[in-house]
Amino acid sequence: MEYVISVLVLMGIYVILSSSFNLIIGYGGLISIAHPIFFALGAYTCGVLSVNMSIWPPLAVALGAGLALVFSLMLSLPSLRISGDYLLITSIGFQLGLLEVIKHLSFTGGASGLGNIPNVVDFGDRSTVFAAISIALAALVFVFIRWLIRGPYGLLISAMRDDELVYTSLGRNAMKVKLVIFGIGCACAGLAGGLYAYYYQYVNPDQFEILQSSMILTMVVVGGMGSQWGPVVGAVLLLFMPQAIGFLNFPPSVMAPLQGLLYSSLVIIFLFVRPQGLMAAFDRNSSRPSK
């Protein structure tokens, strides 16, 4: 039971991560592999702040999301000025580079990580409370993204995606939409990071490596890029995958890469066999499936 509850916490976190990543690549058509680093920024902000001072947890989480937003602009502004393709390259650099920086800084605990993040839930059963908060936040993020996509802003996103030149000739600013989508997506990742840090009370650079971006990408591609429920389905399914392979009692040094292998294989298979993902056919509001 305890186990199911902790999976629920993780599920909420990953629904936020996959939905926000889907906003960036599925709806925005931007490609970035730097989602884990924004996740990390949120986590480390909460960790560092709460270890060094007593701070109201929701404020710390908000600051984490805010920092992720600011950093997202540092990444997107120079790259998108050139083209969407450049964002990919700079995101690789950002992901790898910023992680290196974190490993070298002392106040982040360096390569061995930051522990002793204080417990902020001392009422009721800790895990259950966290599970409730996690699911609630995930629902909030989901509803927010849904509101954005289905409202007037959603038309901007679709049109920009369909034909950027014509979009611009109508008097609309394509760059702004991209920056906003990227910013919101990264801020949500930062939000998830804060939740993660407070639940596990320990953050470590290895948790935010490229394996994370594989996992999140798999959730989005398998669930269905550009559909709203797709990333949710993807997150739920893929969280159960480690359990599915857990019965193979391989040592941990094999399990981690094996997981990565399975995630990458799934993406490759889906890219060729069912590029629209699992959910696209069922979702009225999905954008044109990317091929």
Binding site: P78, S79, Y86, T90, H104, I268, L271
Partner: protein
């Protein structure tokens, strides 16, 4: 800091730039002719390395057979990837997003595969990665340095001859500039792609051979080395394979020289700083025009 230390660092930096040049040229060549950002290159670099490792350490084959075998394996895999992966997506008119995802994920896939097979400890292809040295005028020159520079120069010259003095080279230029037109002129575009991929694999093989003789590697390492190849390609200008080579030498040397200015633990970050500077100031590649327009504020 004496002159001889500077010279030593320059020499060693130049020698190390050898494999950087080869990886950069490989990436740039594929981008120029096949027109894809081949992030799967990191995966293929792993393939070269680990197949060489297996040939040498498990089958106990001599080095030259191992190198040939890994070149063959990588070429076949790369051709297969292109034919069944890239071509399929092209036939579907997939967006560049899909291509990026595919090439990146293929690299990740290979990385995980090799991590699963070979573990998380760094391994090297030969038991001993120290090579004998000679002293010339106060500078330490290792046999590896000489081999690296010699082999790389030979490879670059060969590529130059192929690209500028052979029919294949002309076809490659034609396909790079205008594939549809090339096809209309009777050039077998797919065959040109094939040869290009094989050439890129050759560059990768020589590069990984040299790299493997010097460094113990993790499956993750090629992805980080790719970054230098990508930056060099950007800096050298899209479609300029030899420009990418020059940029790779420059970046490598800067990395080596930076030891004077930056504490060693921050050195690994230099490459990322280069990336951002390139994107900010030279996204179309370095050219004197861009430089002048920055300095003089004149019209380009």
């Amino acid at each position: 800091m004496t002159f001889s230390i500077l010279l030593q660092i320059l020499w060693t930096g130049l020698a190390i730039s050898s494999y950087a040049v080869l990886f950069a040229m490989s990436f740039s060549l594929i981008l120029k002719v096949v027109k894809i950002w081949n992030f799967a290159q990191a995966g293929f670099m792993c393939l070269v390395f680990y197949s060489l490792y297996v040939c040498l350490n498990i089958f106990d084959w001599p080095m030259w057979i191992g190198v040939l075998a890994s070149f063959f394996i990588t070429s076949v895999s790369a051709i297969g990837f292109f034919r069944y992966g890239i071509e399929t997506l092209r036939a579907r008119n997939s967006t560049s997003l899909t291509f990026f995802i595919l090439t990146l994920v293929v690299s990740q896939f290979m990385g995980y595969f090799f991590a699963m097979c070979f573990g998380t400890e760094p391994i090297s292809i030969t038991k001993n990665i120290m090579s004998p040295v000679i002293m010339v005028g106060g500078i330490v020159i290792s046999h590896w340095d000489l081999q690296a520079l010699g082999l790389t120069t030979l490879t670059v010259l060969t590529l130059f001859v192929i690209m500028h003095k052979t029919h294949l080279g002309q076809f490659m230029s034609a396909v790079a500039d205008h594939p549809t037109l090339a096809r209309l002129y009777g050039i077998d575009v797919n065959r040109v792609y094939l040869y290009t991929i094989v050439l890129a694999c050759l560059l990768m093989t020589v590069g990984m051979y040299l790299f493997g003789l010097k460094v113990a590697m993790l499956p993750n390492t090629p992805l980080q080395m790719m970054l230098l190849a990508v930056i060099a390609t950007l800096l050298g200008g899209m479609g300029q394979v030899f420009g990418a080579a020059a940029a790779a030498i420059l970046l490598s040397l800067l990395q080596s020289l930076s030891v004077f200015v930056i504490p060693s633990e921050w050195q690994s970050l230099l490459i990322y700083a280069f990336l951002f500077l390139t994107i900010l100031f030279f996204p179309q590649g370095f050219s004197w025009q861009t430089m002048k327009s920055f300095l003089g504020g004149g019209k380009t």
